[in-house]
């Protein structure tokens, strides 16, 4: 059933087109609508959205508290949500402090706050990351060039059910004068997953 699975990219591309055509014949998919939905999804869901949320939390303590208490209720304040298509998932934002660092994983597959951040990076989905980070988070962080202080407790959140997780990195020092727009530029996707400081 899967003989052509590891054929060339051209082979799998052809197979995907074949299946799409089959489903279009059955009236199950409309290729134009598929394209439209994909473009719309990518436009509203990207790491930049996560960065904006972090910048707001750094700038506004009351928002930060609301975000940590109930992210699903706080996101719409910024015109964002965990909805938009498939069923809305509960988002838990976990805050890094000077004594606590958080890392996110889905060991069983690759569950990720895709509605907010868009598609996950390849490394997040890899067996290498998923297998190692729960057993040796410091080793994995070192692979990313990041080394939290020894007295910082690391918590690895395995998104094994319906909730999704995102890290609220610590605000870097020396950024007091920055507005939200410039603060957001400091936030990386790796920081939102906990494999970087920010």
């Amino acid at each position: 059933m899967s003989d052509d699975h590891h054929g060339s990219a051209a082979a799998i591309a052809a197979h995907v087109r074949h299946v799409e055509a089959l489903l279009e014949e059955r009236g199950l998919v409309d290729p134009t609508e598929l394209d439209r939905a994909l473009v719309a999804f990518l436009a509203r869901s990207s790491p930049a959205g996560g960065a904006r949320v972090v910048a707001r939390a750094w700038s506004d303590n009351a928002f930060r508290e609301r975000l940590l208490d109930d992210a699903n209720a706080a996101l719409p304040e910024m015109g964002m949500s965990m909805g938009g298509g498939l069923q809305e998932q509960r988002l838990n934002v976990v805050a890094n402090t000077d004594t606590a660092h958080n890392v996110v994983v889905c060991t069983l597959c690759s569950c990720y706050p895709i509605a907010l951040l868009g598609p996950s990076p390849t490394w997040y989905k890899s067996e290498a990351y998923r297998s190692r980070v729960v057993r040796d988070p410091r080793g994995v962080l070192l692979e990313f060039g990041f080394e939290p202080d020894p007295d910082v407790e690391i918590t690895v959140w395995d998104a094994s059910a319906e909730s999704r997780y995102m890290v609220l990195p610590r605000r870097p020092t020396g950024t007091d004068g920055l507005d939200e727009k410039h603060l957001a530029e400091l936030v990386t996707r790796n920081g939102l997953l906990g494999v970087a400081a920010v």
Binding site: V16, V19, L23, P121, W123, R132
Partner: protein
């Protein structure tokens, strides 16, 4: 549950590969698989748990050798046949 996807704590995988500024999809067909799956889920052809289950039922050697969206495409085609939407011949035919 001891299926091949359950890798938490498993040892022996290679170093993590880092790709700077990687795009959401590395090929057009990946984006199509992504969109196709969302459409089929949205229409209730199958649910997310069935989708994950279909990936997990891949033979271990195939699972490990498949890229992420190859796994997705495997699940989509498996479920289309199991749900009676398409026959196996149609799915894999010319």
């Amino acid at each position: 549950m001891s299926r091949i996807n359950d890798v938490g704590g498993m040892q022996g995988f290679p170093p993590i590969e880092h790709e700077l500024d990687e795009p959401p999809f590395h090929a057009d067909w990946e984006a199509h698989v992504f969109a196709l799956n969302r459409a089929l889920l949205g229409q209730g052809v199958y649910n997310l748990d069935e989708f994950r289950d279909a990936i997990e039922r891949m033979p271990p050697e195939e699972y490990l050798a498949s890229s992420y969206y190859e796994k997705w495409f495997h699940a989509v085609t498996t479920l289309l046949v199991e749900k009676g939407i398409c026959s196996a011949t149609e799915i894999h035919g010319g």
